[in-house]
């Protein structure tokens, strides 16, 4: 798989491709040890992801909690250092940049976070939040022009101009998210990575932000990577959608294609599981219920990561070979050994006995270690 | 209000006398002892050739019934008491006496340390194998069973009264040998002692060693039924170790102990009111304000030192800070010592005089580094902080500026005083015996002393004069020489300011009889009785 992506790297980076991620891996070490910490295992949060985002498009990334969406996003921005792989951004290898060069290039890739409150420094006024980025990149050219720019930004995200002097806590959730978006916009980025931009918002407010994102894209020609677990939202705003399962992409297609004809068993199950606010649809729907839970990323299943829960699982290949993401139809890629056969109805789904998801003893970093690790820890009042 | 328990002999036989000790005895071999708690216990089990008359510092016969010296004061013949037996049943005689002398003189290795054989080093100088450090002791011969002849290398006023020190008590030669008495080993910062010193002290005294129960913090002595003199009336003497003074007081009040040493002066009245016998000892000490002439040349001016003396309201100090019976010191020794000079005038508090003296000396605005010790109380200095406060207040009134430093007694104070760091310091002395040499000789007998008298021209002559007086064998002459020196010290030299003599006390239950408070803290429990 690695060879494949490496050899095709040159051809892929066409003019219209803004971002291309190649074999990105992020493995978080799990450390234990008597005296010195030894690494006893890894959380395979992102485990070999290739993807491309075209200039001006919105790429949506969906998947269940813990499948590595956020980690992938962060690794692309180098907020988490990837273990392996690289990201070519507009022709330059962003992954290998260092120091000042990295810092100045960061301007072009911005992020919007899930929790609008925690992503804003509570001690800074909206003005200084917005100016900070400008200043970091020498875009703060005099009081006058900066002031004008700030007002433009606020207008763009639909906030009143008098917001500048206020502090984040004085805004509602939706408004805060707008500030976060304005901050990202301030430095005139090319790419905005939005990690769950609406999932912390009230349902009635979600739509405001979703609409805003779409408007901004039209207005500024931005490229978006939208990460979300809500399929409906992703489908609504994305041109293309990638589905992640346990650290890897399992399917990638345009939004409509994906919904119309999901090829990967996981995608099928996922789509069928999303409730639709329409009783008639709900009453009609056939559900594909998956058995069991998402396996621990510290101990991923061999072969196809999904084989433990897959109703179409076959005796061969599934539990030994890891399927590669391959293009089955134009613009529609899927990582399944049997995708064609399933589509053609050659393989029928069968019952799957739920398999216990074993936590490797204490390995999962999800378990909060309640109580102090030592005397000294507990001294924190 | 002092009740001298002179009613010796009356009183019941039997019973246990429990004494509250401030600390555990370090060991039981008096020769290596250096501290009061150790001496107090040893004193009950041992006797020396000479002793002190109860309640005084005067020498009296003990194991030796009489002694005489050649006119040059170098050869001393002791006639020993007969029929005396050590606790282990072996006889005491001239030979045993000489074994003890030779044991002292022949200490080896770690035992020669200043921290181990301190009393020997102070009073007799070096050892047999330290030729560079001459010894006062030369030899001991057993002329016959009851006559021992001790030869010295020079005359000293202190002999034979030093033999009354508990350190120079006579031990059983047999036991010394059996329990490896001289085997002192240095271990790290300290010394460990042999079995003799820890478990088998063997003397001739009225009490025998019982046990040292470390778990209960109790030392127990039992009556020596074979004692050669008046047998002890008490069955047992128990020393209960109670380090905290208040705890000792409360233990006394609760009836757990029968007495303890050095009650806080502030408690005397209360204890008396509660019906205890506060036995006040004669004040056999002196507290002085030390002056070091080294660092500040102004201090080499007699007028400045006199000004300091006049500036201090010693009377007020004695009245407010010291226990009942304390007196202002006119010189560096109490009046019970031969050589005390009655004609030394008492210098009164006179602020104006102090100021004018300072003016004359051109020492107005003088700044002095004044040291006082923390973490200590001494019989002559019950509360250093308060005493310092009073003196400092007086000096400041006279226009002397003070740079005050306080350090823990063992945590730098003594070291600094010895190294001549301060200009003024508080210190004092408790006498070991009744010789003048033990007082002014100790203070000024050398020029590199704590007052650095060598800095003044008279320092050397004073030291020489003291040496001469000490080696004068004739008692009357010697006394006169010391008396003259005392006057000179106070009027012409004034190397330091003697402040006060204060009486320490001992508190006992009313029903304890026969204990005579001693200026040397040399209280013997042999004659005591309870009830």
């Amino acid at each position: 798989m690695t060879e494949l992506s490496a050899s095709s790297a040159g051809t892929r980076t066409s003019a219209e491709t803004l971002v291309s991620v190649e074999d990105m891996k992020v493995h978080f070490p799990i450390k234990r040890g008597v005296l010195l910490d030894r690494t006893v295992g890894y959380v395979y949060a992102v485990d070999g992801v290739d993807l491309e985002i075209k200039r001006g498009e919105t790429y949506g990334l969906v998947g269940e909690s813990g499948c590595g969406k956020s980690t992938l996003g962060r690794a692309m921005l180098r907020l988490t250092e990837p273990t392996n792989g690289r990201m070519i951004f507009d022709g330059t290898d962003f992954s290998s940049l260092k120091g000042e060069e990295l810092r100045t290039t960061r301007r072009r890739i911005q992020m919007v976070f899930q929790d609008p409150l925690s992503s804003l420094d509570p001690r800074q006024s909206v003005e200084s939040i917005l100016v900070e980025g400008l200043r970091a990149h020498g875009m703060d050219k005099g009081k006058e022009s900066t002031g004008k720019r700030l007002r433009e930004l606020l207008a763009a995200v639909g906030l009143p101009a008098k917001s500048l002097r206020k502090y984040p806590h004085e805004f509602s959730g939706g408004q805060r998210q707008r500030i976060g978006i304005a901050r990202a916009l301030a430095v005139e980025p090319d790419l905005i990575v939005a990690d769950e931009p609406v999932s912390a918002l009230d349902v009635s407010v979600q739509a405001q932000v979703v609409n805003l994102l779409q408007e901004l894209q039209d207005q500024f020609g931005l490229t978006f990577l939208v990460i979300a677990h809500d399929l409906a939202v992703v489908k609504h705003i994305s041109d293309r959608v990638g589905v992640m399962y346990l650290g890897g992409l399992v399917e990638e297609a345009t939004a409509d294609d994906l919904y119309a004809e999901p090829l990967h068993p996981y995608t099928r199950a996922l789509l069928s599981a999303v409730p639709v606010p329409d009783p008639q649809v709900e009453d009609r729907r056939e559900r594909i219920l998956l058995a069991g839970d998402l396996p621990s990323p510290a101990n991923p299943p061999s072969g196809c990561r999904f084989h433990t829960r897959c109703p179409w699982r076959q005796q061969t290949k599934c539990d030994t070979d890891r399927p590669v993401l391959r293009e089955i139809k134009p613009g529609h890629k899927v990582a399944c050994h049997w995708a064609e056969d399933i589509e053609a109805g050659k393989i029928k789904p069968h019952e799957v006995a739920p398999i216990l998801v074993e936590e490797m003893d204490g390995m999962s970093p999800d378990i909060p270690l309640v109580g102090p690790a030592s005397v000294t820890e507990a001294l924190n009042p | 209000t002092s009740e001298r328990g002179s009613d010796t002999g009356s009183g019941k036989v039997g019973g246990t006398f429990t004494f509250g000790a401030a600390g555990a005895p370090k060991l039981f071999d008096p020769f290596y002892a250096t501290d009061g708690e150790t001496f107090r216990v040893s004193r009950q089990m041992y006797e020396g050739l000479v002793g002190f008359k109860p309640g005084t510092a005067e020498v009296e016969p003990a194991l030796a019934t009489k002694w005489e010296s050649t006119p040059d004061g170098k050869t001393w013949t002791f006639t020993l008491k007969e029929g005396v037996k050590f606790h282990d049943g072996t006889p005491f005689n001239a030979e045993a006496t000489c074994v003890n002398f030779n044991r002292w003189y022949n200490q080896k290795g770690a035992a020669q340390s200043d921290a181990v054989s301190q009393y020997w080093l102070d009073n007799f100088g070096g050892f047999a194998d330290t030729p560079d450090k001459p010894s006062l002791y030369k030899s001991c011969t057993a002329k016959d069973a009851k006559t021992a002849v001790v030869e010295l290398t020079g005359a000293t006023s202190q002999f034979p009264s030093v033999l009354g020190f508990t350190s120079f008590s006579i031990s059983s030669p047999e036991a010394l040998k059996k329990y490896d008495a001289d085997n002192v080993v240095q271990a790290g910062d300290s010394f460990t002692y042999p079995a003799y010193a820890n478990e088998h002290p063997t003397g001739t005294g009225p009490f025998k060693f019982g046990k040292f129960d470390k778990a209960n913090n109790v030392v127990e002595l039992v009556r020596n039924d074979d004692y050669h003199g008046d047998k002890a009336k008490l069955d047992k003497v128990v020393f209960r170790i109670i380090p905290d003074e208040t705890a000792r007081k409360q233990a006394l009040e609760a009836g757990d102990i029968d007495g303890y040493d050095l009650p806080n002066a502030a408690d005397w009245k209360g204890l008396q009111d509660k019906g205890f016998n506060v036995a006040i000892r004669p004040a056999f000490n002196v507290m002085y304000l030390g002056i070091n002439q080294k660092n500040n040349p102004k201090l080499q001016d007699l007028k400045v030192r006199q000004a300091i003396m006049s500036a201090i309201n010693r009377e007020q100090l004695v009245k407010s800070q010291l226990p009942e019976g304390a007196k202002v010191a006119t010189q560096f020794m109490p009046d019970t010592i031969n050589g005390f000079n009655k004609s030394v005038p008492e210098v009164k508090y006179d602020l104006e005089k102090a100021k004018s003296l300072l003016k004359e000396a051109g020492a107005e605005g003088l700044t002095l580094k004044f040291y006082w010790p923390t973490e200590v109380t001494r019989p002559y200095m019950p509360s250093p902080k308060d005493i310092y406060g009073a003196i400092a207040g007086d000096l400041e009134k006279a226009g002397i500026k003070l740079d005050t430093v306080s350090k823990p007694w063992n945590g730098g104070y003594l070291t600094d005083v010895d190294n001549g760091v301060p200009d003024l310091f508080l210190l004092g002395w408790t006498g070991d015996n009744g010789t003048a040499q033990n007082w002014i000789g100790t203070f000024f007998g050398r020029t590199d002393n704590r007052f650095n008298t060598g800095a003044s021209a008279w320092g050397k002559s004073l030291a020489d004069a003291l040496a001469a007086a000490n080696s004068e064998p004739d008692e009357a002459k010697r006394t006169q020489m010391y008396s003259d020196l005392n006057k000179k010290i106070m009027e012409e030299y004034l190397p330091a300011i003697p402040v006060s003599h204060s009486p320490p006390a001992l508190v006992l239950k009313k029903d304890i009889k026969g204990i005579v408070p001693s200026p040397l803290t040399d209280e013997k429990f042999g004659p005591a009785s309870k009830g």
Binding site: V34, G371, A373 | K26, G188, S190, A215, Q250
Partner: protein
């Protein structure tokens, strides 16, 4: 769990080594010390110099330290020159340690027996006068200097209650087996000795328990408040369980987690507090030895006792951490 224990033990050794070197170096660089203590006011410059040389105090600190370490490994930490002059420091520690253990355990028991139920009640009655006054009371408990409280107990309460006002020192003489006076009496059948020991323990233990009590009370209260807010308590209520079962099985068990840690940390307060309390009551334990050691600058004893205090403190907390696993299955895996 085992690995964790070993790790902590190795850390402890490191801490003790570093600590001992620091203490040793600093103590040695101070004026006074053994020489002053051994010679006292009768010292002369010569005797001082001679003794300094003889004790090897003129050698470089590091050499002195290694010598010290060599001896220390065989249990020889030197000889006291202030607390119990002449006794070896180790002897002093061994002799006094049971007393402090007895006192601390007693104090801790008082603190726990009163602190936990009161804390629970206060939390249950949050905001009532009972809660407010006990919270303020516990804050006062922390604000009272321990030794002042000890004096008040000693001088006022001992008379009122007819209890001995001195600790241990005037305990009656008895056969000593373990050094724990209360235990010894039971072992040897000398009941009066046990009774006497208990009498002597009460007031110092009360004084010593003030801070642990206040802390345990407040932690319990806070922990119970936290747990009462937890969803699983609501679940338990929704099951219709009886109040007792909820209190015992759901609330207290979870609330005990932070309390247990706190109890471990209170060893620190107990050890420090013992220095003050034992001094006031003349309770012949390690604390008093430390107090005397500080006063009299008895460095060999201080060195050993401080190291021992560290070891005890760290070990107790290690034990507490380990026992944590008994109540919290989430930690067991480690």
């Amino acid at each position: 769990m085992l690995r964790y224990t070993i790790r902590r033990l190795i850390q402890l050794v490191g801490v003790v080594l570093v600590l001992s070197l620091l203490l040793f170096a600093w103590l040695r660089s101070l004026p006074g010390g053994p020489v002053s203590a051994l010679l006292g006011e009768r010292a002369t410059p010569e005797s001082r110099a001679a003794l300094t040389k003889q004790l090897g105090l003129d050698q470089p600190i590091l050499i002195q330290y290694f010598k010290f370490l060599g001896r220390a490994l065989s249990g020889d930490f030197g000889v006291s020159n202030g607390v119990q002059p002449g006794d070896s420091a180790m002897e002093i520690f061994l002799q006094r340690f049971p007393a402090t253990v007895e006192l601390s355990v007693f104090a801790l028991v008082i603190a726990i027996v009163f602190g936990i139920p009161l804390g629970y009640l206060a939390a249950k009655r949050r905001g009532t006068w009972f809660d407010n006054s006990s919270v303020i009371g516990s804050l006062v408990g922390v604000a009272i200097p321990v030794f002042f409280l000890a004096y008040v107990l000693k001088d006022v309460f001992s008379k009122a209650l007819g209890l001995p006002s001195t600790g241990r020192q005037d305990a009656i003489e008895a056969t000593r087996v373990t050094g724990f006076f209360t235990l010894d009496g039971i072992l040897t059948g000398e009941w009066d000795a046990t009774f006497n020991a208990l009498e002597h323990l009460i007031l110092p233990a009360l004084a010593l328990s003030s801070i642990p009590f206040a802390v345990i009370f407040r932690i319990t209260r806070a922990a119970v408040l936290d747990v009462l807010d937890e969803d699983f308590v609501r679940t338990a209520e929704s099951k219709g369980l009886t109040a007792q079962v909820i209190r015992r099985r759901h609330v207290l068990r979870n609330a005990m987690l932070p309390v247990v840690t706190t109890v471990g940390l209170q060893t620190g307060a107990l050890l420090s507090g013992a220095v003050l309390t034992e001094k006031v009551f003349g309770f012949a334990g390690v604390g008093e030895a430390l107090a005397l050691g500080f006063e009299r600058r008895d460095y060999p004893v201080l060195l050993l006792l401080i190291i021992m205090a560290t070891i005890v403190y760290v070990l107790v907390n290690l034990l507490v951490d380990l026992s944590y696993a008994l109540i919290d299955p989430r930690i067991r895996a480690r």
